[in-house]
């Protein structure tokens, strides 16, 4: 389809004009009544809060409150179907007669269910659609899970809660967030972080948004706070994500914030106090080497500051955490609101680190007319944090202590003076983030509904690094550095759905829509080196000032059409297509079409299964998604830099008019089953996702003088199996005990390099051998220099680079796992008001590169022992250096982590009322409690290495090569794992 980008504007404005025209006749009043009632658990009789209650086909709906009560205003008069839905329960429907100006009461008893097929999801479905009608898997994390989690940001929250997701923490450093990837790396160049929407607005999800200190960078995901989230929906690419078009190949995360509800204002106050304790399992304390020319070890040991536990006692710390929350929710017959504020503050587990976050959230919903509603939600967040350099650095205390350079790089002779040197610097950062979303919904009849959303995400950050003059760990005399970034993202979304019954079909609907977004990111970094006097914090005082600026901008516009239909409420079919145009596409590239088709069929409803099955649904789908190339890489450009008072131009990007998005075509099939009275729920999905037109950075011939150009020449495949199972082991009035398991596998393979020779991923100076792209092998497969025996005498005598094979299994190795999963359990004792949840995660099949072991070799620290090298006559000629035996840095990446335990106790009502409230709760939460790793961790020197080397979960050291580049993890220098967190909370509702 040929449609130039310039034609998008008329479409855009036309769409809104259409909306306006459709809205005008709606401004007429109609007669309404009120529906109220209470929802309770059928097995325990306890009230159920946060259930979704709707008057079907009318757009009127709301949530039940803490006592399970709900109030629906403006319900159209006449016979209406009211439904109550909540994750973990089978949905119920009831028919009521609404009378004008009167209140009708209807109560619900919901039965627990291990499989939720009636839940409404909206991500990638055009309109709110019951899960059982979808052919593709949409994962949902509900309010209960979110509230009970001690997670500090969205990546932590999703850890272990989505099958097929790999989410690894990066480090304990404030401002960092986990590395996310769904269904394996689908690209060899692009970051795998899913796109994220908050209340329909696309938000900044960039990973490396600050300067890099030893490889640790701030992530924009760190300030997506988890306050007042109602629900999160996740699609992992494929047909489920197709309607998001050219940017959905890595999946979509959609966050919905809490809404107001009719009724008097309800206030909630929550106080949390806690302690964070550093994870020291992988910390090797003071056994640094003492190079003689810096004073011998005796000098350091004789000094009063000597402490064998110096790292634990002086570099790390247990720290205090506190959080205060105040929220109000309520509404009138036409207006609902939810307003909250939160302050969160914690010292970090490394001295000189800490974080303070202020968060204001509000949402308002107004019924403007009987068929027109407006919703607004907004969040303002301020995040201030400080950190220290870790990882690949020569001026970080932790790194230098653990690899033996503590005295050397500080040029000091005792621990106290050296630590003072490392601490003579401050790394501070502040983030201001505002996210706003406005939605107009027009629902004139059961036939048509329309929605228009406009929103903005604005994130402004500034990082400063001030090195004092006495910071002699570097060769310079003081440094003032600032890294600023300004992100603006604007989203416009217009969609409509026609719902009707066609001959033979039921639940038939046609959805259509237009979506546009623009993103701008400006970065400025200035470094001032060489200062004369202490105390100055402005870089213009420096002798040597360098400044850099970056600017990225992209606009994407897309249209979609989706047809859904059901037959006999058993077979559901869907087919759709999305068209996308994008300013990053080459000038020869037109709109891209992304089709999808899918079907699901419920054998149980069709009566084809025994009664033991409440659900047995088969589903299959085919869908295409895209990943647009980085902005401006289509153009031939010239760069320039200052030289000797002139601006000196140079060839830059060679240009590619045919640059198009990567296309991921996914075929998936699966089943959902529930049996044993809905007490066992099972979901199985198998998928194959093939990336065609995969983009590689193709080198130009050196004789052109031009570097490299992105070209669509490759093919990459990911295959996997995802299984999730829930079992209600005990379900009665006094107790509910449930278990859940998620498990997924991944096989990744580069199918075609488009004629390119194999190449390396992100090697800086060739020394940090991350991985290789080679046909027939996974992306990032380990390819390193390793000892070899050239004369066949069985003794290694040389070194050469090649694919690394496991010494026992002979298999090649990857930085990402081949399988991972989680197991959780929850126990609820409603009569005692107690509920307990626990969750653990595991990962298998990855390898991690322990770069700290390379550093340690300079100081002869026994971290990993490198093999003996022989000459051709079989005589020992010493040890291999790490650069010759890089494979010896590899450690087993398997782990099992007890991720979180939460306990909540509903205090007796009398206690709450004595304080003037309606309910009160005590909470205890613990996170990152225990880590198991196979020991010894070293793969090539298990007998000659430390038992514990590193926390393999951590994505750790990253190549700081831009916001949107591929990051597979699997390489670490010295990085501190996220701490053991303990939280005590008290919450009271008035």
């Amino acid at each position: 389809m040929k449609l130039p980008m310039s034609k998008v504007r008329p479409i855009l404005y036309g769409s809104f004009a259409l909306l306006a025209v459709l809205l005008v006749p709606s401004l007429a009043a109609a007669q309404t009544g009120t529906v109220q009632g209470q929802i309770v658990d059928a097995s325990t009789g306890q009230p159920i809060p946060s259930a979704q209650v709707t008057v079907e086909g009318t757009g009127v709906g709301g949530l039940s409150n803490q006592q399970g009560r709900f109030l629906l205003l403006n319900a159209p008069v006449g016979e209406q179907t009211v439904s109550a839905v909540l994750i973990g329960y089978t949905s119920e429907q009831s028919t009521v007669t609404v009378t004008a100006g009167e209140t009708t009461t209807v109560d619900f008893e919901l039965s627990p269910s291990a499989l939720e097929m009636d839940e409404l999801v909206v991500t990638g479905t055009g309109q709110a659609t019951e899960r059982r009608r979808l052919s593709a898997e949409v994962a949902v994390v509900d309010a209960d899970d979110i509230a009970s989690s001690g997670a500090g940001n969205v990546t932590e929250l999703l850890q272990g809660r989505v099958a097929g997701a790999q989410i690894n923490a990066v480090s304990a450093a404030p401002g960092t967030a986990g590395l996310m990837s769904f269904r394996g790396p689908s690209s060899a160049i692009a970051d795998q972080t899913p796109v994220i929407y908050i209340d329909g607005v696309r938000v900044d999800n960039a990973r490396g948004v600050s300067g890099s200190f030893g490889g640790e960078q701030t992530s924009a995901l760190a300030d997506l706070a988890v306050t007042d989230i109602e629900r999160i929906e996740v699609t992992k690419g494929g047909a489920a994500s197709t309607l998001y078009g050219a940017d959905a190949a890595s999946g979509v995360i959609q966050i919905f914030t809490k809404r107001g509800r009719p009724g008097e204002a309800s206030f909630t106050a929550r106080v949390e106090q806690g302690v964070d304790m550093p994870e020291t399992k992988f910390v090797t304390d003071m056994d640094f080497a003492c190079p003689e020319r810096l004073g011998d070890c005796e000098t350091a040991r004789a000094h009063p500051s000597w402490d064998p536990d110096f790292v634990k006692n002086s570099i790390l710390q247990s720290s205090h955490y506190q959080s205060y929350y105040l929220g109000a929710v309520g509404g009138t017959d036409r207006v609902g609101y939810n307003i909250s504020g939160r302050v969160r503050d914690g010292d970090g587990t490394q001295v000189k680190t800490g974080s303070t976050m202020y968060n204001l959230t509000s949402s308002l919903q107004a019924t403007l007319t009987d068929d027109l509603t407006a919703e607004f939600s907004g969040t303002y967040l301020r995040h201030n944090f400080t950190r220290v350099p870790n990882g690949t650095t020569t001026n970080g205390a932790l790194t230098n202590a653990m690899v033996g350079d503590f005295l050397f790089f500080a040029r000091q002779e005792n621990l106290a003076d050296a630590l003072a040197v490392y601490h003579a610097q401050d790394i501070t950062e502040s983030v201001d983030r505002s996210t706003f979303s406005t939605t107009l919904s027009y629902d004139p009849s059961t036939l048509l509904d329309l929605r228009a959303t406009v929103g903005i995400d604005k994130r402004v950050s500034e990082q400063r690094h001030n090195e004092q003059l006495e910071m002699v760990a570097t060769d310079r005399q003081g440094r003032i550095q600032t890294n600023a970034r300004d992100f603006t993202g604007l989203t416009m979304d217009f969609r409509g759905t026609l719902t009707y019954d066609a001959p033979m079909f039921t639940n038939t609907s046609t959805s259509f829509g237009f979506q546009a977004f623009r993103e701008q990111a400006k970065t400025t970094s200035v470094t001032g080196d060489e200062l004369a006097l202490p105390g100055v914090t402005e870089f213009d005082a420096a002798a040597l000032i360098t400044a850099n600026e970056g600017f990225n901008e992209v606009y994407n516009g897309g249209l979609f059409l989706l047809q859904q239909a059901g037959i006999a409420d058993q077979l559901f079919l869907e087919a759709g297509v999305r068209f996308d145009g994008n300013t990053a596409f080459g000038s020869n590239v037109s709109y891209q079409a992304y089709p999808k088709v899918g079907a699901s069929f419920d054998l149980a409803t069709a009566g084809l299964m025994s009664d033991q099955f409440q659900t047995l649904r088969l589903r299959a789908n085919y869908g295409v998604t895209g990943k647009f190339p980085p902005p401006f890489r289509r153009d031939r450009t010239f760069s320039a830099e200052p030289f000797a008072g002139e601006s000196a131009p140079r060839f830059d990007n060679p240009g590619n008019a045919n640059l198009e998005p990567e296309r991921v075509t996914t075929v998936e099939a699966g089943l959902d089953a529930s049996f044993w009275d809905n007490r066992v729920g099972l979901g199985v999905t198998a998928y194959q996702a093939v990336t065609t037109e995969a983009i590689f950075n193709v080198n130009e011939q050196p004789s052109t003088g031009q570097g490299s150009q992105l070209r669509n020449i490759g093919e990459i495949e990911n295959r996997g199996l995802e299984v999730s199972a829930n079992v209600d082991i005990i379900r009665n009035a006094s107790a509910t005990w449930a278990m859940n398991v998620n498990w997924s596998t991944l096989r990744n393979e580069v199918k075609d390099l488009g004629g390119l020779p194999p190449f390396e991923l992100g090697t800086l100076g060739g020394r940090r051998e991350f991985g290789r792209i080679e046909e027939g092998l996974p992306i990032g497969v380990r390819y390193m220099s390793q000892p070899v025996d050239t004369n066949g005498d069985g003794l290694p005598d040389s070194a050469e680079r090649g694919i690394v094979r496991h010494p026992e299994t002979g298999e090649h190795m990857t930085p990402f796992p081949t399988s991972n999963g989680s197991v959780g359990s929850s126990l609820s004792l409603p009569q005692m008001g107690v509920s307990i949840r626990a969750q653990a995660q595991w990962s298998r099949g990855s390898t991690v590169q322990d770069y700290a072991a390379a550093w340690s070799t300079f100081n002869s620290l026994p971290r990993i022992e490198f093999p003996t090298r022989y000459d051709l006559d079989g005589n020992e000629v010493g040890q291999y250096s790490y650069s010759q035996a890089f494979n010896y840095l590899l450690v087993n990446g398997d782990f099992f982590k007890l991720r979180e335990i939460t306990l909540s106790y509903q205090l007796p009502e009398v206690f709450a009322t004595s304080l003037g409230g309606t309910s009160a709760q005590l909470n205890f939460g613990a996170r990152n409690l225990w880590t198991w790793v196979p020991t010894p961790q070293s793969i090539f020197a298990p007998e000659a290495s430390r038992e514990y080397l590193l926390d393999p979960e951590l994505a750790g050291y990253s190549e700081p090569n831009g916001e949107s580049s591929l990051q597979l993890g699997g390489s670490q220098s010295v990085v501190l794992p996220p701490p053991h967190q303990f939280r005590f909370g008290f919450q009271i509702t008035f």
């Binding site: 020319r293 007319t369 604007l490 300013t583 401006f632």
Partner: protein, 483 residues
């Protein structure tokens, strides 16, 4: 009434929303309103004086090419050892040089292959595509561009086996590259009226013809250059914080051979210039031409001229914090009590190692340990050849000549092999060419590595490559007559 009020509210809200969207949203929602912040082809076409605009780019790229060759030559030869740095091991010894070495194959600062290719390509672009269409381009500008392209060819012709000069072209052999260099330099002479550029071009032509083995032309241009200015120096400038001189920072990362200790650091700050041509080299070219003609007595006098001129060049006091450490953190010779023999059996010489950390006096243009009178008094052809090579090594220290002088020729980079269909792995042009007289792995070595631990002040270098070059009668002007 209430219902009516809401209707009014609804209309107002709609009108407001529509206005906000259509007015304030216009620019932001206009898909054509995305502008590349860099200069695109269209932008360049709109430049008023594109040649003037691009010349600073050529100047900068020449600075990059020169420093990459200087750095590569220093590390690959016996001049320097890699002690503490991320530079790849392939640059530590000629025998280890492989086209895919990360520091050799790089497009970054140290990539000699890349940076000379980029210089030639950018110069081609200016000379062939931009200047002919640019009415404002002057002869002087064209002379400058030709000089830079000539430098690209000269650096390539001296140091590489063969290099393609355009996409999908077969590599042009080193002598072909040098011929192109001579052609560009000669063309530039016809375009320039600046005396300083004329001297630089004469010196470049002398150097080019020396590399080509043209004794007469080498001698002629060297004499013309000296006649134009007997003490000339042409400097390649650098700028701290921008394009920096790589051998001035973090001095401890590269460690000189102990017998060259007194010359390092030649560049004491990050903005220090590197000489690309100077009168001393002309004297040495004349000496070499004399030797080629069998006139060793004349050659000794010419070498002495170079040594005298070097002795007249400025020096600089420098407070050097370098501790002179071996890669394993033990101490290299770093005090003036050290005596250094150029190899086993060679005489022990004092004054070659200075006291560090401490204040040292550095020759910033030329320095040498040779004494002019002693050189002049030499009569033995082998000793004269030896003095000649030592003079070249010391006087042209850190000026990018040593790899060429050792007779090593570097291969095309792996990037060239992978992208140019005319070149394959294993081709003659893709494998480093190292003369048999160079021993593997020991050129940078000496003993004892830590004289202080060994309790000795006598340092012996593993091999004296100047003695080897002299014995092997090596010269680009052809094998020298033995006597």
């Amino acid at each position: 009434m209430r219902s009516y009020r809401f209707k009014r509210l609804g209309r107002t809200a709609l009108a407001a929303a529509a206005t906000v969207l259509l007015v304030s949203g216009c620019d932001f929602l206009d898909p054509t309103n995305v502008t590349n912040p860099n200069t695109t082809t269209e932008d360049l076409a709109a430049a008023a004086e594109p040649t003037t605009a691009l010349l600073p780019g050529l100047r900068a790229q020449t600075a990059r090419a020169v420093r990459a060759v200087v750095q590569t030559s220093a590390l690959l030869s016996d001049d320097f050892e890699i002690a503490f740095t991320n530079v790849g091991p392939e640059l530590s010894d000629p025998y280890q040089l492989s086209p895919d070495g990360a520091s050799y194959n790089t497009t970054g600062g140290i990539g000699a292959y890349w940076n000379t290719q980029e210089l030639r390509a950018l110069a081609d672009f200016v000379i062939d595509s931009i200047a002919p269409e640019d009415e404002g381009a002057t002869d002087e500008q064209l002379a400058e561009a030709r000089y830079y392209r000539g430098m690209a060819y000269l650096l390539q012709g001296e140091n590489f086996i063969a290099v393609p000069t355009g996409p999908d072209q077969e590599p042009t052999a080193w002598d072909g590259l040098l011929t192109r260099a001579a052609s560009d330099f000669s063309a530039a002479r016809g375009l320039t009226a600046e005396a300083e550029r004329e001297v630089a071009l004469l010196a470049a032509l002398a150097r080019t013809h020396r590399a080509l083995g043209n004794v007469g032309d080498a001698r002629g241009f060297a004499e013309d250059a000296l006649a134009a200015d007997p003490e000339f120096v042409t400097l390649q400038n650098y700028s701290a914080g921008e394009l920096e001189n790589p051998f001035s920072t973090e001095t401890r990362t590269f460690q000189p051979l102990p017998r060259l200790d007194f010359l390092d650091p030649k560049y004491t700050s990050r903005g220090e210039s590197i000489p690309v041509a100077k009168a001393e080299e002309m004297h040495l070219i004349l000496a070499e031409a004399d030797m080629a003609d069998g006139s060793y007595g004349d050659a000794a006098e010419r070498i002495a001229d170079a040594v005298r001129l070097a002795g007249d060049r400025p020096t600089e006091e420098f407070n050097d914090p370098d501790e002179r450490l071996n890669p394993n953190l033990t101490d290299r010779p770093s005090s003036s009590d050290m005596l250094v023999a150029a190899e086993d059996g060679a005489p022990l010489r004092a004054g070659l190692v200075l006291d560090r950390p401490g204040t040292v006096t550095m020759p910033i243009i030329s320095g040498t340990s040779l004494d002019a009178d002693s050189v002049e008094a030499l009569t033995d052809p082998q000793e004269i050849r030896h003095a000649f090579w030592l003079a070249r090594q010391e006087i042209l220290f850190l000026e990018g000549r040593r790899v060429h002088d050792l007779g090593v020729r570097m291969p095309v980079s792996q990037r060239e092999i992978n992208t140019n269909g005319t070149v394959s792995d294993g081709d003659d042009v893709a494998v480093v060419d190292v003369p048999d007289y160079i021993p593997p792995d020991i050129m940078d070595d000496f003993s004892p590595r830590d004289p202080y631990e060994a309790g000795s002040n006598e340092i012996t270098i593993a091999i004296d490559m100047n003695r080897v070059l002299a014995e092997e009668l090596v010269s680009p002007l052809g094998p020298l007559p033995s006597g």
